[in-house]
Amino acid sequence: MAPLIQLRDVARRYGSGEAEVRALDGVSLTITRGEFVAIMGPSGSGKSTAMNIIGCLDRPTSGQYLFDGTPVENLTPDARALLRRHYLGFVFQGFNLLPRTSALENVELPLIYQGLPRAQRVASARAALAKVGLEGRESAQPSQLSGGQQQRVAIARALASAPQVLLADEPTGNLDSQRSHEIMALLQQLNRDEGLTIVMVTHEADIAAHARRLVVFTDGKILSDAPSMPEIA
């Protein structure tokens, strides 16, 4: 079986000539199903760029990206939207929930684009909210929820479409340490119990320690790639 995510010598450059910035400079990375990978590195190391490319929000300037064995680096914007819709789930640092919209409707959002009928959408969204421990808060709006709860809604939204991989960009960046560890525990549980593949960008070592593999970026290149060491946490 092909690895789920395979980056081959991927580069991403902005600008040209003297002003050229190499955000990624020849990165090769393979992630198989069921992994929980943390990507670390200082700011400007290229970790967010790598995340955007993996999430099909951005395209590599050169190199190859195979998703489940299929090259996707040259897909049209609409084809990439389709890929995101059916195979990828996103969790962001700023939660990115729709304001003045109930938790349930936020979770329903990707299912609307999948074209699911309403009844099925509501059922899936309820199930996803239950999975992140938010049963009974379906009608709450983001402003009525704590940061930790909002991030749980965001995770539920990513899970609702039953993605192949969950991409988390600084998922605990806006949370205190107590909530951060709760969220990490939730991600670990999803990875362990459901076999969900998770790729997470973070700059905090103790958060990264919750993952099972740690990739460190610096200057657009991979500095190290090793199983993470839980004893540090």
């Binding site: 955007n52 929000l57 914007p77 609409d78 939207a81 389709l82 990115n96 729709l98 959002l109 684009y113």
Partner: protein, 401 residues
Amino acid sequence: MLWEAIRLAARSIIRNKLRSFLTILGIVIGVAAVIAMVTVGQGSSRQVAASVESLGSDMLVLRPGRRGFGPPSGTRPRALSLRDAEALAALPVVAQLAPLVSTAQTVVVGNANASTQITGSTADWLGVANWTLASGRNFTPAEDRAGQSLCLLGQTVRQSLFGTGDPLGQTLRIKAVTCQVVGLLAPKGAGSFGQDQDDLVVMPIRLLQRRLAGDSDVSSIQISLAAGVSVEDGTAEITALMRERRRITINKDDDFSISDMKEVASMLGSINAVLSGLLSSVAAVSLLVGGIGIMNIMLVSVTERTREIGIRLAVGASARQVLTQFLVESVVLSLLGGLMGIVLGLAMAWGGSRFMAIPFAPDPLIVALAFCFSAVVGVVFGFFPARRAARLDPIDALRHQ
């Protein structure tokens, strides 16, 4: 998906009630103006048609002087006379005719008085000009020839001189003439130009000529043609007779004119069409302005909701779906404006019609057209903002604060 987009649009419109209302105000006013203009315009052309009908459609009017509105030819045209009327009445193409003289005078009864139009004519006038009597009687041809001091009253004059009292048998004084009221005319209402047709007193033409005008001129002759005679044939026969009577040589122009009511009707109709066309185009410009208002607010809305668009793109919305969402929103907005405009415009037209005493004539075609047009405004002016939303880069959009 479309249904979802409509639901979403409805929700965002309801959320910003005041802003949505101000956004569509331009469309509301534009559509209301078009509907009101066209409806009132059609009501007044219906009114014109009805009043031309009441004059009689196969009627000709003979007047001295050349046709047209140009400057007078210098010499005063020769007047018509009662002998002309008698000669014309003998033509087989003529069914009935009524010579007319009129003068503006003050009518006095006791200490009440009224300024009105005094019309002198013959006993046939009632039939030719399509009037009926509410009470009393017409004067007879014999009384007319004798120039007896009798008269018929219009409703407006009766109202101002006698109130609700019975005028029959009463005596009026006009200058030095006293005459007895023998008949009361049935009301006719406002004419084509909104003038009061009931503001008149009718008396035998010879009485008016001798006692008020002091000459034997006839200012016009109303002629109704015999059944089956076309307006063209009738005009030709009358022209031939009049040229002969007035000894106009072959190479000279007529010094009289004959107009028919169809001509009057079509002239009034075209004035009406030009006016309502002008007003409607002003209204159409306001629709355009309304559309630009919608575009403006939709652009603001796209900028405000950049982050929302980013989220939607991240969870898998295609550019086309984002485009649809914003396009549907602007179409729903403008249709809402269109609906409100239709209701407002019909209400305005109804009020205006009552005020001007013309029939209220809503045209379903114009209403449907206005509705479709507001949808088109939504699509046209919503497209640019929607395309801008659809072309956003998801990464930039998500980063937008």
